[in-house]
């Protein structure tokens, strides 16, 4: 069983060209790079990025939660007259509210990024590919997954060879 066919490139510009060409014919295309290549996500047709929304929700939940906690404890559960100030003295509730808003947003950004990325994950078939350890060093890869309706082990291989890669290899499942 094949997971994908993988083409290896030495240069991010070659990678971007290859991704664009692959996207013309195939749908299940993945690209791997040792750093965030500008424009790569657009070339892959990635439009949705829910990280900002998750972060916003995390911040709102954190801020609203801690403000409620302060209001509830100072007004309802444990009202203490402190120097004649109103029980709901909101200006002094702002510093903890600010801090926990940031904390909530940061936790959401971090764990949201990981979970949306499908991490943590102990194994992935792409690691079966030969030389894939170079993807975190200096090589760029394009994969066409076997799940693509147009995928054909022979024809897709010929197509990838036509993109002038360093080499094309099979990724076993």
């Amino acid at each position: 069983m094949l997971y994908a066919l993988l083409a290896e490139f030495a240069d991010p510009r070659a990678l971007l060209d290859a991704v664009r060409r692959c996207r013309e014919r195939y749908h299940d295309v993945d690209a791997y790079a040792p750093y965030a290549v500008d424009g790569l996500a657009e070339a892959l047709g990635v439009r949705k990025n829910r990280v900002p929304l998750v972060t916003l929700i995390g911040g709102l939940v954190g801020g609203a939660g801690i403000y409620f906690l302060q209001w509830y404890s100072a007004v309802v559960d444990y009202p203490i007259n402190s120097g004649g100030r109103p029980l709901d003295s909101w200006p002094v509730f702002i510093p903890p509210t600010f801090e926990i808003t940031i904390l909530g947003a940061a936790l959401a950004a971090f764990f949201g990024m990981l979970l949306l990325n499908g991490l943590p994950k102990l194994h992935h078939p792409i690691f079966n590919a030969p030389e894939f350890e170079l993807a975190s060093r200096n090589r760029f890869f394009v994969a066409i997954r076997a799940t693509d309706p147009e995928f054909d082990a022979v024809r897709t291989r010929a197509f990838l060879e036509g993109l002038a890669p360093i080499k094309v290899s099979e990724v076993p499942l």
Binding site: P12, P34, Y35, A36, V37, V51, P52, E99, S136, N138
Partner: protein, 456 residues
């Protein structure tokens, strides 16, 4: 070639590529044998860490009476150490978050170790108020939780805000640092030759594969974290300064404290970053990555923050006299001409006068000079925190209560021990994690190559 842009300096006849960068930095952790200087540092800092543990153990079994604190100087070394250590952390966040938002690419070479510095400094800072509690095993009473005593924290107190600020700061700093590490941990996993290292770094890398969609979300989240950390860092030292300015003690009760403290924090932090960077680049032979340009830029930042600190001293003195408040004026006179005058004048010497040497471009490019100036500023900033806290408390409103503070051996042991533990943690970091962000350098080097290509 070195330029003012803070670029890398490839060895003659060589050009840095993603492969060379990754190999050089990963090999520091994976294969290269340790320099003899590292072992010396390791043994010395481990000894001081042991001293720290002894000092804490003795404190816990005996009580804060082992320190020199007594009324009216109830806050002394522990609080001075706290304010100083938190401040040192701030420059790390400034370098990694502010400079990220401002797209200052030179930060790439220094942000990783600066973030590590932040985490270890804030860890030391977080310990100090807990050590000072008297009954430290009750520190969790500061956290709001529904307890059987049916009491809640007093939300109107800056001391309660403090725990939220410091806890948020350390958690966000660790997340930000770890997030930046994930792609580098994946590089280490792929580079490691022994099974143990592959498994350890592999687990820490959480299965990162460098997939384009992963990078896309990663970059967004990283930028958002930078945007969140930037106001956070300012709020943290603001809250720390409010611990003082909410009190009525002359010398504390002042509205300039938040900006004054935040800027002093950055000042001491840049000093610490230089003190760490200069030996680090030498011992680990990272001169090509952390160049004189990088050091000079940090030197410039130190000069700028130092000038703001000097301005704050002037405003503080001016305000005391302008207020016509007898106690404020007496405090200011006591500070510079009273029993603590030698400390206050040392502050002026270390924080205002000596750092003016940084105006010299030649000195800014001299690592040894920057190292020494960093030490001077660190000393000056510690003394400044001591001056603000102790010299203000020593002369209370009631002359009958006036009482000098003298540190005991255990005061000094706690300070020295925290320095040792900080350095020990930093050495551990250098041994086990990449000191420079490989993935960001790979990207920067690529863009530099493109820029160089279009210009020639």
């Amino acid at each position: 070639m070195a330029t003012d842009a803070g670029t890398l300096v490839p060895p003659p006849g060589e050009r840095y590529t993603g492969a060379i960068i990754t190999d050089k930095i990963a090999d520091l952790v994976l294969v290269r044998p340790m320099h003899a200087g590292y072992y010396v540092g390791f043994i010395v800092t481990a000894a001081f860490t042991l001293l720290f543990i002894v000092a804490i153990t003795y404190l816990f079994t005996t009580g804060v009476g082992i320190w020199g604190v007594a009324q009216p100087v109830a806050w002394a070394f522990a609080l001075t150490n706290f304010v100083w250590w938190v401040g040192i952390g701030h420059a790390g966040t400034f370098i990694s978050a502010f400079l990220l938002l401002l797209r200052q690419h030179w930060r790439t070479s220094v942000n990783r170790f600066a973030e590590a510095m932040t985490i270890f400094a804030v860890a030391m800072a977080g310990l100090m108020p807990i050590l000072h509690l008297g009954r430290p095993w009750f520190f969790y009473w500061l956290i709001p939780y529904p307890d059987v005593m049916n009491v809640w924290p007093q939300w109107r107190s800056p001391l309660v805000w403090d725990i939220f600020a410091i806890a948020t700061y350390i958690i966000v700093s660790i997340l930000f640092w770890y997030m930046g590490l994930i792609p580098d941990l994946a590089s280490l996993r792929d580079h490691a030759r022994t099974r143990g290292k592959q498994v350890a770094y592999g687990l820490a890398a959480l299965g990162w594969r460098g997939e384009a969609r992963q990078w896309h979300r990663f970059e967004t989240a990283y930028l958002l974290m930078g945007g969140l950390a930037t106001p956070l860092v300012i709020s943290v030292h603001t809250v720390v300064s409010l611990d003082f300015s909410f009190g009525l003690v002359p010398g504390w009760h002042s509205t300039i404290f938040p900006p004054y403290f935040v800027d002093g924090a950055l000042y001491s932090g840049f000093a610490m970053a230089l003190v760490l960077a200069v030996p680090m680049r030498k011992v680990f032979r990272l001169e090509d990555f952390i160049t004189r340009d990088h050091l000079a830029k940090m030197g410039t930042l130190m000069l700028v923050t130092g000038l703001i600190v000097a301005y704050s001293y002037m405003v503080e003195a001016f305000n005391a006299y302008y207020s016509t408040d007898l106690y404020e004026i007496a405090m200011m006179r006591n500070r510079y001409f009273g029993p603590y005058a030698p400390i206050s004048w040392s502050v002026i010497l270390c924080n205002v006068l000596i750092p003016q040497a940084l105006w010299s471009k030649r000195l800014r490019r001299n690592p040894l000079a920057l190292f020494v100036l960093g030490l001077v500023v660190l000393l000056g900033m510690w003394l400044e925190r001591f001056m603000i806290i102790v010299a203000s408390l020593e002369r209370d409103f009631l002359p009958s209560a006036w009482h000098m503070f003298y540190p005991t051996f255990w005061d000094l042991a706690t300070l020295a021990g925290s320095l040792g533990a900080f350095a020990f943690l930093f050495l551990m970091f250098l041994r086990f994690l990449p000191a420079i962000s490989m993935s960001e350098l790979r990207k920067d080097v690529r863009q530099e190559t493109i820029r160089a290509g279009t210009h020639t």
